[in-house]
Amino acid sequence: MILERFNAAAKRGVYSLQEFFVLSGKALGFIFVKPFYTADLFQQMDTIGVGSLGIVLLTGFFTGMVLALQSSVQLQAFGATDYIGSLISASMIRELGPVLAGLMVAGRVGSGIAAQLGSMRVTEQIDALNTLGTDPIKKLVTPRVLAALIMLPVLTVINDFVGILGGNVIAKFYLGKPSALYWRTVFEQMLTGGFTLRYIPNDFIQGLTKPFVFGGIISLVACHFGLKTTGGTEGVGVATTRTVVTASILILVVDYFLTQILLAVFQP
């Protein structure tokens, strides 16, 4: 009995995973296939990018400040407070910027996409699209995925910048370090990670590959759960919750493995 139920659950899980990969394949493939729903793409870039700007600015700035505050205690013990800029720069660009932006966008945009597609599913608007001769994946999923792939790196760069700026505020007013020194250590840090193709700092490669991947994860997970919503309005709530939980976990897990791969490939 228990075994049977476990078996059924495992089957559903595998089936759902297969659906997810089919959806991902189609959605990414359609990026290069006509017709292009350009208006939808720009609208999504606006919702995902511009819409998330506020929370990204806020979280980035405060994370940078608290990071500087915490590490200043540590650095003071070694008398190394001059290097606070290096520390903030490295941690924001490589890790915190991408992961924080990812988690914030998963919460804000992922839930929004899941809720929207979910209610379109339960009010038969998805069926209506199909009936009117439109492929819902092409019309709804592809623009969202593409917009997320483009906008998440952009948001991350902004997040990195305000984070480092937050560190600057603490360095200047709490530690009394001049801004010039702070920014010099920030830039020096960017260059110590080595270069790819001679000019591209490896830190940037790490810091931009991650949000690109996270953007794909968030949008695809949200579209997947949104489109397979069942059970009326209650189902929409379930889809939203699942999206945020799954996307957040995936971001943290994938971040680890991605870091390992990137560190191995782009050695200083």
């Binding site: 069926d127 009117l132 001769g133």
Partner: protein, 304 residues
């Protein structure tokens, strides 16, 4: 369905309606005038039908939609060995209790679902094994009115009705606007009033009518309606029933209607299919249905 019956049905409608007018509170009495107008229109339609054939040439022998020994199960069996068909120009109404799989039948016809067994044919073409893209093409022959209208809520009424035109035709903006106006007028909506509204600003009956207009935009040869009259007041129900009859009469559109409103089903049906316990319990003309001795059918017709 003979003209005799049509007229009988139209006149039959009078008595219950007039009773309603006295029994029901103000709103219904206020709308008495409108109702009278609809009634005369219905009679007109019946008369027109006597004198002239529908505009579209049609061959009543052509089977347009055929459902052939279809079975389908989700978690448990929903439909088992279902067969019926709709010939050109006919209106087939599928009736049955809630949750018996009526909407599922329409989804099979649209090939949003694929049957486990059996086949569904549109214009003689088996659509069961079509690819996704081929299915999109076949669907262009059909217009669908969804149970909850399913209007795209991020688009205005105008964009909703124009959607199939933008998707499938190369019409210019002027022609699209002309077509949208024509279809909105056809469903008795004032284009200038509703065109720029969002679906969330419309009443249930207006949404249904916009849904019909959108389904009609591409001039489909087959119309599918899912519960076109459910949850509407008697007046709007009459209007929409009248619209479906008008479409069949004027344009010769083949229609498949799903409904549990047995009264309006009788008014518009050429044939009725009764779905019960996963099977088609009855398929035939309304007259045959009223004449049936089958206890389940008698019970289903109940008060009618």
């Amino acid at each position: 369905m003979t003209e005799e019956d049509d007229r009988r049905r139209v006149t039959e409608r009078r008595s219950p309606n007039e009773k309603d007018a006295t029994a029901m509170p103000r709103r219904a009495r206020d709308s008495g005038r409108v109702r009278a107008a609809i009634r005369t229109e219905l009679e007109e339609v019946a008369e027109q039908n006597e004198t002239k054939q529908p505009a579209a040439a049609r061959n009543p022998q052509n089977v347009v939609v055929a459902i052939d020994h279809v079975s389908l199960a989700f978690d448990e069996p929903i439909l088992e060995d279902i067969s019926f068909d709709a010939k050109e120009g006919e209106t087939v109404v599928v009736v049955g209790e809630s949750g018996t799989g009526k909407s599922t039948i329409l989804k099979l016809v649209l090939r949003l679902l694929v049957p486990d067994q059996g086949r569904v044919c549109i214009d003689g073409e088996d659509i069961t094994h079509l690819s996704f893209d081929e299915a999109l093409k076949v669907r262009q022959k059909m217009g669908m009115v969804f149970q909850g209208a399913a209007l795209f809520d991020s688009m205005t009424v105008y964009e909703n009705v124009a959607y199939p035109l933008r998707e499938h035709t190369t019409l210019g903006e002027d022609e699209i606007e002309a077509r949208v106006r024509e279809k909105l007028q056809f469903v008795d909506l004032d284009p200038d009033k509703v065109m720029d509204q969002l679906p969330s600003e419309l009443s249930g009956g207006m949404k249904k009518r916009v849904g019909i207009a959108r389904g009609l935009a591409n001039n489909p040869e087959i119309m599918l309606y899912d519960e076109p009259t459910s949850g509407l007041d008697p007046l709007t129900t009459a209007t929409i029933t009248y619209l479906i009859i008008k479409l069949q009469r004027e344009l010769g559109v083949t229609s498949l209607v799903v409904s549990h409103d047995i009264r309006s089903a009788f008014r518009m049906a050429s044939k009725i299919a009764l779905l019960a316990e996963k099977h088609i319990a009855f398929f035939g003309t309304p007259e045959e249905m009223t004449g049936s001795e089958d206890p389940y059918i008698r019970e289903f017709l109940g008060g009618f």
